[in-house]
């Protein structure tokens, strides 16, 4: 019960090698255009990669390597796809939508209907059975769509931002539903929301520019991000460079001192590494602050924005969170040259 997937689509700069273990839910995250939808479409059979091979539970999905031309059409793959929009068939009632999968598998009408009612009950939507999709709210329709996907008995469930189109009232309910139905189920969920990854997935895969930038258990990735996208998700400042004695030196000569996360790595200079620190640890000064062990970077403010009860001061890719009072005292405006100061003790440095 595993998925092994390796495929490349030259036209989209997509080249991904991914495995999903039995009963494992993997969250796929990344910026727009990173290849998340390409990944799902290739697995579901809606897109034909240029090369690669994939297997699900020992069954070949496609094998396009070394002159092979094996290609299993979507309806023989057992990979139900649930998209951002529910896409319920508008001419069928909710229960007929849910029984569509079993009916397509050849289950007699009455049995398929019984199964559909059971799945509708499982997502707490049995009272919606007779309704047409046009009579359902967004949250109700997505619940019926979940039942429809599960009723098809997929070996692998593919979820493409299933909560993105829902309003803030229905999303938590659906998230709890996913938490329940994804437990012990083999699934891939594409999401923009770090909460989905934390709550629903065992592992997170970060895609950037059609390649896997980083992957690992969700908590580990968020605590020790190795890609700027993951650092952004975790809300951390991220300075990539090369390890250099007591810190990281960036390409343009900036040096960030920090404490050694993996004892010994700082003593092997020249390796690629990152310095990571939370915006809340950064103070803003009008003049360069001295006194070791502190880092002081001259920066130009690009943006000021509210962030909870703080003001987030952005300067390029770096951010500092300060109180509104401090911001007013300093008279901060975009375009102003200031110094970001962070204690070395608040900076984690590790190799990548």
């Amino acid at each position: 019960m595993t998925l092994s997937f390796q495929a490349a689509v030259a036209g989209r700069g997509f080249d991904v090698d991914l495995a999903v273990q039995p009963g494992e839910t993997v969250a796929v995250m990344g910026p727009n255009g990173a290849g998340k939808s390409t990944l799902l479409a290739s697995i579901a059979g809606l897109l034909r990669p240029d090369r690669g091979r994939a297997e699900l539970n020992g069954k070949t999905l496609f094998d396009l390597d070394g002159g092979n031309r094996t290609w299993v059409p979507p309806h023989h793959r057992g990979t139900a796809l649930l998209a951002q929009e529910p896409l319920l068939f508008p001419h069928l009632s909710a229960v007929d939508n849910v029984s569509f999968g079993p009916r397509s598998a050849g289950v007699p009408k009455r049995d398929a209907r019984e199964q559909a009612m059971r799945w509708l009950a499982d997502v707490k939507a049995e009272d919606l059975a007779a309704r047409r999709p046009a009579e359902l709210s967004g949250g109700q329709a997505q619940r019926v769509a979940v039942a429809r996907a599960l009723a098809a008995d997929p070996a692998l469930l593919l979820l493409d931002e299933p909560l993105a189109a829902l309003d803030i009232h229905s999303a938590p309910l659906l998230r709890r539903l996913f938490k329940r139905v994804l437990a012990g189920r083999q699934a891939i969920i594409v999401t923009h929301d770090v909460l989905d990854a934390l709550m629903l997935a065992d592992r997170v895969v970060i895609l950037e520019n059609g390649r896997i930038a980083e992957e690992g258990p969700t908590r580990e990735v968020l605590e020790r991000p190795r890609s700027s996208f993951a650092a952004g998700l975790a809300g951390l400042n991220f300075v990539p460079g090369t390890l250099d004695g007591a810190g990281v030196r960036t390409g343009d000569g900036l040096k960030v001192s920090g404490h050694d996360e993996e004892a010994g790595h700082l003593t092997t200079p020249g390796r690629p590494g990152v310095a990571v620190f939370p915006p809340s640890a950064v103070s803003v000064f009008l003049t360069a602050a001295h006194g070791s062990p502190r880092n002081s970077f001259p920066v130009t403010i690009t943006d000021l924005e509210p962030h909870g009860d703080q003001v987030r001061v952005r300067a390029g890719s770096l951010a500092a969170d300060i109180t509104p009072a401090a911001s007013a005292d300093l008279g901060l405006v975009p375009g102003m040259a200031v110094h970001f100061v962070v204690k070395a003790a608040a900076v984690s440095v590790y190799g990548t």
């Binding site: 309806h75 990979t79 139900a80 068939f89 001419h91 009579e135 098809a152 997929p154």
Partner: protein
């Protein structure tokens, strides 16, 4: 529906119209356009000899022609559906070389003079035609038969069905089909249970338009099938023939075709949603005036 008593201020009496921004001269030209279409029909109706209308319309040649027209138009509409649905699907959803060229060629009969279509058909299925000799060997003689009438009608009517169905297929997109396939439905099942029901309104209006075009077919029919009473003389041909001998009969029969055309247009271009089956309940999302039956 109760309309509140008109208030004294001179507000528009019907529902307040949004600002349209149409210049007065455009309105005037639009009125002229409407007159160009409506006036000839009106003029014809003024010439109808109502006293003799029923006997003229129910005379033996008239009824024969009407029956033949209805029979052949029904047959060609069926043929259009049978061949046009696959063609529209391939044009809308597939991608292959020369697809654009095929689409243009299929639409050609829309703009081609029907008599040219008739000549083309004659040189395909006629005795001296491309396939005619082969068919002759098989004992099939198509030209100047009822089959020729159906073929001529199908030739001119097929684009109507293909165009309206291809539009409907493009509008509905193929996302439902993709979902259906990932739920385990094979292509045949997807076509039957998802694609066809979704584009049924487009298919229906396309079929109605094809039927109307078949019913009005004249030029290609006359060229390719001739004008044999009871065999190839459809209602438009009968009208043209009667015009020489009995103009009153021609006018009366024309009125019958106008009536059929009005019914067809009403069927094909009824308000979207007005004919939907009424199991839907009103929800907050239903726009005001939504049909509840």
């Amino acid at each position: 529906m109760n309309r509140p008593a008109a208030p004294r201020t001179d507000r528009p009496r019907t529902h307040a119209a949004a600002y349209s921004g149409i210049p007065a001269w455009v309105r005037a030209l639009a009125a002229v356009a409407a007159v160009v279409v409506v006036l000839p029909l009106l003029a014809m109706m003024l010439r109808v000899d109502w006293a003799r209308f029923v006997p003229l319309v129910t005379s033996e040649p008239s009824l024969t022609a009407l029956a033949l027209s209805l029979r052949t138009s029904a047959a060609s509409t069926l043929l259009c559906i049978l061949l046009g649905v696959p063609l529209a699907l391939v044009l809308a959803r597939d991608s292959f070389r020369l697809q654009g060229l095929l689409r243009s060629l299929v639409l050609l009969p829309l703009v081609l003079p029907p008599v040219v279509g008739g000549i083309a058909l004659l040189y395909t299925f006629g005795r001296q035609g491309l396939l005619g000799q082969t068919l002759e060997v098989l004992g099939l003689r198509i030209a100047f038969s009822t089959t020729a009438v159906v073929l001529a009608q199908t030739f001119v009517a097929l684009p109507f069905l293909v165009v309206s169905l291809e539009g409907a297929l493009r509008t509905s997109g193929s996302r439902y089909e993709a979902v259906a396939a990932t739920l385990g439905a094979r292509p045949g099942t997807v076509f039957r249970r998802v694609t066809l029901p979704l584009v049924l309104p487009g298919l229906a209006s396309g079929a109605v338009l094809s039927f109307a075009r078949s019913l009005g077919e004249f030029g290609a029919t006359l060229t390719f099938a001739g004008s044999l009473q009871g065999v190839t003389r459809t209602l438009p041909l009968e009208i043209y023939l009667q015009r020489e001998t009995d103009p009153d009969a021609a006018v009366a029969l024309s009125l019958v075709l106008v009536a059929v055309a009005v019914a067809v247009v009403a069927l094909a271009y009824r308000q979207p949603g007005a004919g939907r089956r009424g199991r839907e309940r009103t929800t907050a999302a239903t726009p005001a005036g939504g049909d509840v039956r």
